[in-house]
Amino acid sequence: MSADNAMPAERSLRSPKSGSPSAPIVALAGFWKRLWDLFKLIIASRTAMVGLGIVVFWVLVAIFAPAVTHYGPMDQDYKNINKPPSAEHIFGTDNLGRDVWSRAAYGARTILFLAPLSVMVAFVLGIALGLPAGYYLGASDEVIMRILDSLMAFPTILLYMIIISALGPSMINVVVAIAIGGAPGIARLVRALTMDIRTREYVSAAKLRGDSDFHIMVREILPNCRGPLIVDFLMRIGYAAFYIGTLGFLGLGLPPPTPDWGGMVQEGHSHMTVTVWPVLIATVAIVSLVIGLNLFADGLREESMRYQ
């Protein structure tokens, strides 16, 4: 809203005495600068680079799935069932003669769509609950947090199973389950950050401007929570991917024949005496993605805290 790019001419009349750069910084340039700073931050951390590399690999595979595979994920080849890797099927085929690599590649699409989506929903919920709790404190805080505590008392996977058993396995319900399971933790984090930031003087200044509480929470407090929230977001995508896999394995994920890493393990594990390839590839896929996201988040956090 403030990106008035029309610069008054006298901007450049900065006294050369002060020693700081005299070039005018426009809001847009500020944005690119921030992006560039973030990029430098990632480059500087080897951990973050490795993590980012793994994540980018899977993202590219997911986007270009038709290009990197020769078969559709549902194409069955009854002549080649439970085959080990070969020239035609680089990671072999499963019990229905489907290409393992194709299913893994298209499975990446599923997980890389579902995991961020469900975490995003969880964040919307968590922020909506944690922000007012931390800002108002008192009775509303007690009520909100005790309800969330009781949710957190359930073991995560059990909570997911209850929710999905009740709602039935489908893509939307997986998102709902993961959002509900993740919201309490996010709400706690947001609440803690809010409790700290609400005492800052710029919040007092906003109050002295007569700003509404909603304005203060959304405009003054929330933007300053973003650092820890971004790291948490990345970590949670990793966990979500992991849980989506687990749900798939338990038969509570996406209904077959949708390509899904958890489902691949589930279908493949009964044929493991014949071929391990479907299970192996799906497991490696899940693990590498989770580790990649965690490394990226960890590296980002460490690097941003160094030199403080």
């Binding site: 710029y202 200044a205 030199y307």
Partner: protein, 685 residues
């Protein structure tokens, strides 16, 4: 006496590695400290003072290292010594005292354990011996009731006591060298004065060589024999203390002195002379003399070559090419500056009250600690942060509110602007009753009363550009039509002496002083009738303090703005105030015209505050009026006169039993004390 120095630093260079490049934070620093001698290291923040201290004991952190020069301790090279050997030296032969006593002490250990630890580790004493020695050390630092203190945890001690413990701890193993890094900066003035007395006394008695780091020339004058002034990683002047105060030669030293408000000069009699600009980053040093861009007396030759540290008179070294041109530096400086114009006069003021506070009480409920209390079976107790405070402020005037921390100054300010609810009492603002929470006040009274905050890092939202934050206010109150907001923000930035290019900067790109200016611009954006300034300069460097104070004064003079200045610094209050209220433990103990407050008759508490102000004059004898102890708890304030527990002039039981009477000394000057008026005249700071 032994002639070889305890510590000799020669051409020290320290480099920090950062993501982008190496930063040469300290360059070519040399000095010596002999036995029994104290060297004061002075300069603004970011000048590398602490880096020098840390390099001596190799505390530079993972990314810092000494890249040149020698550090000779008792003739031995300390540089590149293995960590193991240094560890044996630290705490034993070289001891350090830090700025934040609270974080220097381990909160989970009793004082006794912490103190014994170092003598057990370094000298292998038995528990018993160590205890005895620790007790002895506490006695050395004049700790009242040392046996009891030994059993306490750090949070049970006041800031002054904690710092005493740390000094006692540092002295335990009889170090040859004591390094003190801003040991009194985090303390109240009254406590600071007592700690400085102690340091001077210990120095006299034990002849320890010490390095004293401070940004405050007034403090250094009290304790140091030699002063070295650092600027941007280099020493620019070094001389015996008397010489440097009587005849400063480097323009930077003079600048540091001339920006200090004088506690003895009334409002309007002098303007402060801030040092323009800021300390350059070590990655971006100007060519030639590093101080030249900020120097009032710079000539073109200054930026051609880097001046060397030259000896002017024996023991007095200055890094300035013009140093030989002037015989009396102070005169030369004054001539240079007299050419500048004075700030506008504020003109005749209407005689009307903008704000009047009557019997204001601000209480905070104490959380219940028992189950019975939780269910309402116990009487609620309150922190009486501000108890029965009354005062009024006239249009265009400044009311200064002074007192130690914990006296309720900030609380009353917050209650006035509406950030804290008023428990009882009445606040009238522009003839409107505003004794209600912010949400219920009209938008007009909100607009007419704004606040300037203390912490420059908290004052601006890090997520928005400077211009946006000022624009928020303008849009909210529709001060100007929306198509003129941008122009108005730029006008406000100019009004606080920042140029328009700051519009799009983010707060983290600004220095502390610049952030505070933006905070001021935001506060005056609605052209309010009253601005409440809560310690606006106490977190800033001295050189920047002057500029901000000048700015506030100029704003007051041009807009006839009424101001309330909350501060613990009596010098800046005197510079800026017309009336002053002295607060102690939630009560006003003395109120009156500024001039009346700064001269007898005084309340004993005011006298003690005045006595504690550090003055940049090494020849001034230390005052006799010193406060002991700490401000008592505001949950159960002392009966009668609240000051009786610490009052050096207590007359007897009457002080403990009865509320002090109001003594009217004429012209609105009121003192609340049991002492008869003629005796109040006797109290001299």
């Amino acid at each position: 006496m032994d002639q070889s120095p305890i510590l000799a630093i020669k051409n020290l260079a320290v480099t920090y590695r950062t993501r982008e490049r190496d930063v040469n934070a300290v360059r070519d620093v040399s000095f010596e400290i002999h036995r029994g001698e104290n060297l004061g290291l002075v300069g603004e923040s970011g000048c590398g003072k602490s880096t020098v201290a840390h390099s001596i004991v190799n505390f530079l952190g993972p990314n810092g290292r000494v890249t040149g020069g020698d550090i000779l301790f008792k003739g031995q090279q300390l540089r590149d010594r293995p960590e193991e050997e240094l560890r044996k030296l630290r705490g034993a032969d070289i001891a350090m005292v830090y700025q934040e006593p609270m974080s220097a002490l381990n909160p989970s250990m009793r004082i006794q354990e912490q103190m014994s630890e170092s003598s057990i580790a370094h000298r292998g004493l038995s528990q018993k011996q160590a205890y005895a020695e620790s007790l002895e050390a506490l006695k050395k630092v004049n700790m009242p009731d040392p046996e009891a203190v030994m059993q306490r945890f750090p949070h049970q001690l006041s800031g002054g006591q904690q710092q005493r413990v740390l000094i006692g701890m540092a002295m335990l193993n009889n170090p040859s060298l004591l390094i003190m890094d801003e040991p009194t900066t985090a303390l109240d003035v009254t406590v600071e004065a007592a700690v400085l007395d102690l340091i001077a006394e210990l120095q006299e008695r034990y002849q320890t060589a010490s390095l004293y780091i401070s940004h405050n020339l007034g403090v250094v004058a009290r304790v140091s024999h030699q002063v070295a002034v650092m600027y941007a990683g280099e020493i620019v002047e070094r001389a015996p203390t008397r010489t440097i105060y009587s005849n400063p030669m480097h323009p930077y030293t003079m600048g540091l002195m001339r920006c200090l408000p004088d506690v003895d000069a009334p409002k309007g009699t002098r303007t402060l002379h801030p040092i323009p600009g800021r300390v350059p980053s070590p990655t971006n040093l100007p060519p030639g003399c590093i101080f030249a861009p900020r120097c009032v007396m710079a000539i073109p030759e200054c930026s051609l070559q880097r001046p060397q540290l030259t000896e002017v008179t024996p023991g007095h070294q200055v890094r300035c090419i013009r140093v030989l041109e002037w015989k009396d530096a102070k005169l030369a400086w004054a001539a240079e500056e007299s050419a500048k114009e004075d700030s506008p006069d504020r003109g005749p003021l209407p005689d009307e009250n903008v704000l009047s506070v009557q019997n204001a009480k601000v209480y905070y409920p104490v959380p219940f600690k028992t189950v019975a209390g939780l269910f309402g079976f116990e009487k609620r107790s309150y922190v009486r942060a501000s108890d029965d405070v009354s005062f009024s402020v006239k249009r265009g005037h400044t009311l200064g509110v002074v007192g130690e921390s914990g006296c309720g100054k900030s609380t009353i300010a917050k209650a006035i602007v509406g950030l804290e609810p008023l428990h009882e009492g009445k606040v009238d603002f522009l003839n409107v009753d505003i004794s209600k929470p912010l949400g219920k006040r009209g938008i007009d009274s909100i607009r007419e009363m704004q606040m300037v905050f203390q912490d420059p890092n908290g004052v601006l939202n890090p997520s928005y550009s400077v211009g946006d934050q000022i624009a928020f206010s303008l849009r909210r109150f529709r001060t100007v039509p929306s198509n003129q907001v941008h122009a108005e923000v730029e006008r406000l930035l100019r009004a606080v002496k920042l140029d328009e290019s700051y519009y799009n900067r983010l707060p983290r790109q600004l220095s502390g002083g610049e952030k505070q200016r933006v905070g001021i611009a935001r506060a005056i954006s609605t052209n309010p009738a009253l601005v409440v300034c809560d310690e606006p300069v106490s977190a800033l460097d001295v050189s920047v303090q002057a500029a901000v104070l000048n700015l506030l004064l100029e704003i007051q003079n041009t807009n006839q703005t009424t101001m309330i200045l909350i501060s613990h610094d009596l010098s800046s209050v005197r510079f800026f105030s017309d009336e002053v209220a002295v607060m102690y433990l939630g009560r006003v103990v003395e109120i009156g015209q500024c001039e009346a407050i700064y001269s007898p008759p005084n309340h004993p508490y005011t006298a003690a505050l005045l006595a504690a102000v550090p003055r940049p004059d090494p020849d001034l004898p230390p005052s006799k009026v010193r406060l002991s102890g700490r401000v008592p708890s505001a949950v159960n304030p002392p009966s009668g006169c609240r000051f009786h527990t610490r009052c050096p002039f207590k007359i007897g039981d009457i002080c403990e039993q009865q509320e002090p009477p109001e003594r009217d000394m004429g012209d609105g000057h009121k003192i609340y004390c049991h002492l008869p008026p003629e005796q109040l005249y006797e109290i001299k700071p």
